[in-house]
Symmetry: D2
């Protein structure tokens, strides 16, 4: 039986909603049957119709939707929230209170206050809250995490992560750009929230390291821009490892260059999402190895979320789909009261709060001229 | 409304059936509702159950299935045939005769006779026959074809294509390997049929060139192997261009290295499926360009089949899904009696026959010590 | 007529001395005819003999050598100083005072005081002082500088440079390692002086930007190490551009990974010394280009120092040789009292002092917990 | 003591002569002291003067030079012949007869008859004849040969080699192009002689395989061209391995793309000269390794001809220099009557004759419509 999915946001013209829908379809675990796809009634209706959602399950108000779906015997199992950042907290709280699991786009919210509201609602409800830090769904990212955890790299020393784009290098207009550079909708962080949090989450996920404090230098290069578009951060991790993080939306020549490098006493790895089926691994003093998804040297954690043989590339949508798969498995197990199988993982409210702390610390440090600032 | 899909083959333990199913799901155009998933009754039933197929639509015999589905008012719109090569013709003919569109894995058949049977049934039925030469679904492959067609490369001179693996470098056993090295099931061609046809199809698709004749040197390197596992071919195209084709399943260090290089009087391109979101293009005398899927310099033909922004990799499954998408669009247009929209494309019976001619010519040339042998 | 070269340091067992000698030979501008190759008399003599230096030109003391060579009518035109850092100032001052041009390995000295001594001697003597920041000799580095200068990248915004190795990831012994981790010989900076200065110099050379201030986080990861082995720096340039610099000798999986990325309002470039014949360049909104040394799109500044056709790689030694070539041309022009030809360039005492300021600022900032620290 | 080198050809405006001179200088083993640099007296004189050759050692006739140098007590130890192909035999024979070692550019000659003349003169004289198949001087090429020889790849099965350029894609004029497309000067083979022989030699050198027979398809794509500019060859090696060779001067988008792939029962390697400091190696069933020149996993044969640490690229000139180094060592050992040290290697007359047989067989096979043609 497929699980029943609802969606808030993601109407005609939106980007990430479509991604969530493909992700939900790929492995056949989900069926989209309800939505408040737009706050504009006409668009909401038309969007629902495009997607084969029955008219009576097409809402214009997420509060109504939460109540109505909670009341139905065939109500949705989970809702996907794919609105701009400032519109996460409202629906998240509403659905959690209605006893419906939530899958939410990142970052968690536009403000720390909103984030805390969501966290409280999650705790009170006991429902699942899954944040789509989708890059954690890539098989080689899972494998990297496993390799670090089992000691292949020795004790970690230096972590470098970057997420670099150029699409906001000039003053831009358009649905995707507009809200991201508007602090009312994106929150105080621009680039740091939009992609810096992905980079931070990826580094945290793979290394398992907690960031003690950071020193940041944020800049808005495009004239008139009210949020940062380039982010430089130095990191100090608990236990002594050090790191650097770079996020930019003005680095001409880059599309979605998310890249992670981790170095320990005995090994180093390097992975980049633009060619995500390949990772290099070097044991100190030995030749560098090219590890491929599912290929020689692949590990349980990566193979668990791999669909096709090595050499046949999986991509962004498959990684995203893995988050939806994990969510489905979690819901099925939770509903049956079973323990989760080993290796199952999805980013959760804690990751969301850490991302918010990261944003806040970056902004605070940068305002204080780069002073080392603790997280959380 | 989703189209209704049936499947022949693809039961538990199969590989390519699962790929077809994901491909059919990705864009939400298809719903799998019937299947003769295995000739083993128990496995057929269990496999159907796994896939949410209703018991009354789970068949053990494709003839029964073709008749029953044709008779139902809610019968399937198309059937996907995902059996080993020697089992294509039977179901293909049965479903075509029953008036049901067919989507069939490649190569077309195990023998020229079977291929002709299918072709005849297709002509007689007037139904769609789509062959899943899935690599033609990659956006940059579409773009390459468009660039060649509009003259970006000038007049073509030299074409190099290769599809190189190593998974059969040793005597292997297992469901995937067994039938591929058994001439009764794979046909007289081993590697040449399994992946050589993909390479040949890709080169033909992108360049638009017809192969006049070829000189081949086929070899079975693994002791005791009854079909070729390494294929060297020189090609002469109508109009004077020349080419080389290499297919191998024993080239240690390769996974699914399908790579195409096309050179004309004014430009050259290079594409490889293991990192399919990137293609290089050089105009003579100018710097080489890196073209990305959907990125700067991308064209209509590629963008038409692109789902997500550049820098977010799409992969093998998305390319495969595009074939299913195109099939869906063709069926919808055919059912409405409408002309197909510009740019829509799916490999068809003609491609299948050309692939069979390619296999036959390679085997004939190689037996005749490499004599230049015409195709078809 | 070849110019006459002397050498201080570089006896048997040394590394960089041999590099200087090859560099001096490649283009046939220099002849090595004198040396104080070791402070050990036996080794000095044997080393000289190996290199075909006449016994009467083989010295054990650089002071003696400076005096003797200055006194000869056939005395050396220039001396190459290839000793450990703390041994640069002595010979540099001695030869400059003796009226002999100096070519000196980097960094300039072990201490700011020594650096100032050299600078003063250079000013007083009016002789040439050339610092072998050899990476500035790579043709594509010259081209990158020219492209930035002529505005191909627009106004610069973000600069990333890194020089990453792993050879000191463990406690090491050996002639090359020993002095580099001994603050008495290397100076207070370890990695920051040895390779951080190369990275800093490369970024400065290509961008033409002056660094206003920096915030640094230096670390000695290897237990017991007395100098830094990993260096994180954030940079603020005059005019508003920002940067990051990473230097490491403990990043497992890296050999000599010196890499520069420069992004401006209209374009971005990326270059890495391990494959130095290739550079990417992207104009905003256009496909990324692969520029090759001497190939399509190459420019005057790079071609001026290119020896062979594109596709035939030049390497580290050729880039180093270009510094020796430039030095030779400078000396010939200086001796003739002629103006230098356009484009001729060699790193000089100013670059050396800036490198020393960079080291000092990094150490000071890091000690002050990362406070933004001005240079110079 | 440096060895004394003479040169025939390589006057002003020539390309390869300058390469030979740099190669001879790099390791300090040679001194250029005589030359017949041009058959034009003025140019010969001016070229000699540029190079610091004394007027009395500047000849206009190679016969005169051979006699005069043989007669001097300080005569040259070896002569480098860097003329177009049809001008190799004359000077080669003259110098060999005069008892002077010969270093000659490739291919051996313009015609089989000339080649035999040289071979005879070499046998009669007992002097060294070294052919500058310079790609055999790359450290990783030496290492690849060693790895094959010691069995790292198991029994060889499939060899692919290609040398691809685009500089003759259009009708070209200029000193370098002119003689290469003139059968009077280049010989009957165009591309096949100029770069096909390099590819053939590289494959033979690394694999140690003898080519039994080949089937070739040669083409002249540029209208009016009298020699081939694109070469397709299938190869059968003694012992059963198979191969393909592609050489082209019209493949737009390529500079000097010489690339070798060797696959055996247990391993595969891949190397390309445009980034020659890197080679991949895969043991069957294990992750692909990236081997770097001098890095982890490097071997004796490569390290023997390596000058600088891994990560600092060596290039084309260093590989070429290694041939000169080996020549110097051979001469010194020959003069002392000593056995050659292990590992020392330079391409010789046998390689030259095999290259000529390769050219002849390619032309013969292609004329006979691709019939399998034995070599030699």
């Amino acid at each position: 039986m497929k699980l029943k999915l609802g969606m808030v946001g993601g109407g005609q013209g939106a980007f990430i909603g479509g991604v969530h829908r493909i992700a939900a379809r790929i492995d056949g675990q989900w069926e989209l049957i309800a939505g408040a796809l737009s706050s504009d009634a006409e668009r909401a209706k038309a969007s629902a119709s495009d997607l084969g959602i029955a008219p009576e399950r097409a809402y214009t108000d997420y509060e109504d939707m939460a109540k109505a779906e909670a009341a139905r015997s065939d109500g949705i199992d989970a809702v996907a929230i794919v609105t701009p950042n400032h519109m996460h907290a409202g629906p998240a709280v509403a659905f959690l209170r209605a006893g419906i699991h939530v899958i939410c786009d990142k970052p968690l919210a536009a403000t720390p206050e909103q984030a805390e509201e969501i966290a409280k609602a999650q705790r009170d409800s006991g429902k699942l809250f899954i944040l789509t830090h989708n890059y954690t769904g890539y098989p080689l990212v899972r494998q990297a995490r496993e390799m670090v955890a089992r000691g292949d790299l020795g004790e970690l020393r230096v972590v470098h992560v970057e997420y670099v784009q150029d699409w906001l290098a000039e003053e831009t207009t358009g649905k995707q750009a507009d809200w991201r550079v508007d602090p009312q909708r994106s929150g105080a962080g621009g680039c740091v929230g939009d992609i810096g949090t992905h980079a931070f989450n990826l580094a945290s996920f793979v290394t398992g390291l907690k960031t003690d404090k950071l020193a940041a230098d944020l800049q808005a290069f495009v004239p008139g821009r009210q949020v940062d578009d380039n982010v430089h951060v130095m990191l100090r991790f608990a236990g002594g490892a050090r790191g650097m993080l770079w996020a930019s939306q003005v680095a001409v020549g880059n599309e979605n260059a998310l890249r992670l490098r981790v170095h320990g006493t005995q090994g180093g790895i390097e992975w980049a999402q633009e060619n995500p089926n390949v990772m290099t691994f070097t044991r100190f003093g030995q030749p560098k190895q090219i590890l491929t998804r599912g290929g020689a040297g692949s590990t349980e954690a990566g193979n668990r979320v791999t669909r096709i043989p090595p050499g046949h590339p999986e991509g962004y949508l498959e990684g995203f789909a893995t988050i939806y798969n994990e969510a489905a498995a979690m819901i099925r197990h939770a509903d049956r009261g079973e323990a989760l199988p080993k290796g199952l993982h999805a980013p959760n409210i804690t990751d969301g709060l850490e991302g918010m702390h990261f944003i806040s610390a970056c902004i605070a440090s940068s305002k204080a001229d780069g002073v080392w600032t603790p997280l959380g």
